[in-house]
C-alpha cells in the first residue's frame, strides 16, 4: 500500500506538486488523469524513488521512502523490486542487445536461479506475443513492439505494484487496443496498478478509481 502525506515538490522553485495526500490500495487500478504539466509524471518519479518530495512523507507498506534510505543499495533493491515502472518513452527503458536479454535483465538482478529465469522469460515472451522478436534489437522495433517488450521486462520481475506512464502514447489503434486488453487482464492478479493517462476511454475501461489532478498540481477528485 502506498500512502502520500502532504507531498510537495518544487522544480527549480516552480511548484510541481502541492499538498498531495492520498492512499493507493493493493488490488485496485487507479487512473491518474489531468492536463499536461499538472504533475502526473513528477508524482510517478516520486513514487518510483527517482525524485524526492520537498515536503511531506511517502510511505510504502508503512516504511518511509527517503533519499537517505534509498542510498542503501540493499534497501533500494527491495524497494525497486516492489514497483514495476513502464516509462512513457519505452525507448529509454530498453538497453539490452535483444528482447530475450531485455526480459532477463531484471531477473538476473534479482538473483533468481537460472531455471526460473528461463521459465519466466519464456512465459512473458509467449504472453506478450514476442516470439518472432526474441532475437531482435529493441531499438529497431516499432513503438507498439517496444511497449510490449518494456511491459514484459517489467512484469517478468513480478512486482506487486505496476505503474504505467501514458501506456497508449504513440501507439496505433490496434496497439492501443492490445495494450488496453492486456492491462485489463492484469487487474485480476491482485496487483496495485497506477496508470497515468490523458485517454478517457482507457481510464473509463480500466479504472477502479479515477484520480484527477488540476493545473494547481493538486489532487481534486479522489
Amino acid at each position: 500500500m502506498i500512502q502520500l502525506e502532504h507531498i510537495d515538490y518544487d522544480y527549480q522553485e516552480i511548484p510541481a506538486l502541492r499538498d498531495i495526500t492520498y492512499s493507493f490500495e493493493m488490488g485496485n487500478c487507479y487512473c491518474l488523469e489531468g492536463p499536461n504539466g499538472c504533475g502526473k509524471s513528477t508524482l510517478f518519479r516520486i513514487l518510483n524513488g527517482l525524485a524526492f518530495p520537498t515536503g511531506g512523507r511517502y510511505l510504502l507498506d508503512g516504511e518511509a521512502i527517503t533519499e537517505k534510505r534509498l542510498r542503501d543499495d540493499a534497501f533500494a533493491k527491495v524497494f525497486h523490486a516492489k514497483i514495476g515502472y513502464v516509462f512513457q518513452n519505452s525507448e529509454v527503458q530498453l538497453f539490452c542487445k535483444n528482447v530475450e536479454d531485455e526480459i532477463a535483465f531484471g531477473l538476473f538482478q534479482l538473483g533468481l536461479p537460472e531455471d526460473e529465469i528461463r521459465e519466466r522469460v519464456e512465459k512473458y515472451i509467449r504472453l506478450l506475443k514476442l516470439e518472432p522478436l526474441r532475437k531482435r534489437t529493441p531499438y529497431n522495433l516499432s513503438g507498439g513492439e517496444k511497449k510490449r517488450v518494456a511491459l514484459g521486462a517489467v512484469l517478468a520481475m513480478d512486482p506487486p505494484i505496476l505503474m504505467l506512464d501514458e501506456p497508449l502514447s504513440g501507439l496505433d489503434e490496434d496497439g492501443q487496443q492490445w495494450i488496453t486488453d492486456f492491462i485489463a487482464s492484469l487487474k485480476s492478479t491482485g496487483k496495485l496498478i497506477i496508470i497515468s493517462t490523458h485517454n478517457r476511454e482507457l481510464a473509463e475501461r480500466l479504472a477502479d478509481v479515477h484520480v484527477r489532478m488540476d493545473k494547481d498540481h493538486r489532487i481534486i477528485c479522489p
Binding site: N48, G49, L50, D73, A76, K77, H80, A81, I83, G84, Y85, F87, N89, E91, V92, Q93, F95, C96, K97, N98, E100, D101, I103, A104, F105, G106, F108, Q109, L110, I117, R118, V121, K135, R136, T137, Y139, N140, A153, V154, M157
Partner: protein, 243 residues
C-alpha cells in the same frame, strides 16, 4: 565543421550496417572463437619470419572476401588501401638502403592485419563482438559500456538523421547557412543524448541494477565450434611448418 560531418558520417554508417545486419542469420560458431581466430591470426603473422605464412593468410582472407556481397568487398578494400599505401611509402627508404625485403615484409604484414580485421568487421555484427567479450566474467561492466555506447550511437545517429531531413525539407536554394546547421544538429543531439542517458540510468535503477550484466543466450559448444577449432590448429600448424 569537417569533424562534425565526420561524426555524422560515422553514425550514419553504423546505422546502415546495423540495419543490414538486423535480419541476418547468426553464425553457429561461437563469436568468441571467431574473434579469437582473428587475434591469433594477426599475432602469428606479426611474429612470423616467413613470407609464405603471411601470403597464405592473405590468400585465404581474399578468398573469404571474394565470397562476400560486392558492397562489402568495396568497403573492405577501401579500408585496406590507405594503410597499405601509407606503409609502403613509409618503408620506401628501406629499398634505397638495400633492404627491399623489409619493405615488402612490413607492408604485407600490415595488409594482412588490416584485411583480417576488415573481413571480421564485415562478417561479425557488433552484438557478436560484445558477446565474444562477455565470455570472460570480469568483463561485464566493459561489455555493458560497449553495448550502451553502440546503442546510443545507433539511436542518436537515427535522431540526427531525422534532424538533417528536417533541415533539408526547410532548405530552398543554394545557401551557406545549411552547413552551419550541422553544428545545431550536433548540439541538439548532444542534449538529447544527455536526457536519454539520465532516463536510461533511472530505468536501470528501477529494474534493480546492481552491476550484473549477463546474456540470456548461452552459447553451447557445437560440432561447428569443434570444426572451427580446426582452423586454429591449421593456423598454428602452418606457422610451425613455415618457421
Amino acid at each position: 565543421m569537417r569533424l562534425n560531418l565526420k561524426v555524422m558520417e560515422l553514425t550514419g554508417r553504423l546505422l546502415k550496417n546495423d540495419r543490414e545486419n538486423a535480419g541476418r542469420k547468426p553464425s553457429p560458431v561461437a563469436p568468441a572463437l571467431r574473434v579469437g581466430a582473428a587475434v591469433l591470426c594477426i599475432l602469428l603473422c606479426a611474429i612470423s619470419q616467413n613470407a609464405v605464412y603471411v601470403i597464405t593468410v592473405i590468400a585465404v582472407e581474399l578468398l573469404r572476401l571474394a565470397l562476400m556481397p560486392p558492397e562489402r568487398i568495396l568497403r573492405v578494400l577501401k579500408a585496406l588501401i590507405l594503410p597499405v599505401i601509407f606503409t609502403a611509402l613509409i618503408m620506401l627508404p628501406a629499398v634505397f638502403f638495400g633492404h627491399p625485403r623489409t619493405m615488402l615484409t612490413v607492408t604485407m604484414k600490415v595488409c594482412e592485419s588490416v584485411l583480417v580485421l576488415a573481413v571480421m568487421n564485415e562478417s561479425l555484427d557488433w552484438r557478436e563482438v560484445t558477446e565474444a567479450f562477455s565470455v570472460t566474467k570480469g568483463m561485464a561492466v566493459f561489455v555493458l559500456i560497449l553495448d550502451m555506447t553502440m546503442r546510443f550511437l545507433m539511436i542518436l545517429g537515427d535522431y540526427s538523421d531525422k534532424l538533417l531531413e528536417a533541415v533539408m525539407l526547410r532548405s530552398v536554394g543554394k545557401t551557406n547557412w545549411k552547413n552551419a546547421k550541422v553544428d545545431g544538429i550536433l548540439g541538439t543531439t548532444f542534449l538529447k543524448s544527455r536526457q536519454m542517458a539520465e532516463a536510461t540510468s533511472e530505468a536501470m535503477a528501477c529494474r534493480c541494477f546492481d552491476g550484473q550484466y549477463r546474456s540470456y543466450h548461452r552459447h553451447r559448444f557445437t560440432w561447428q565450434d569443434v570444426l572451427f577449432l580446426g582452423v586454429y590448429a591449421a593456423m598454428i600448424a602452418l606457422f610451425v611448418m613455415t618457421k
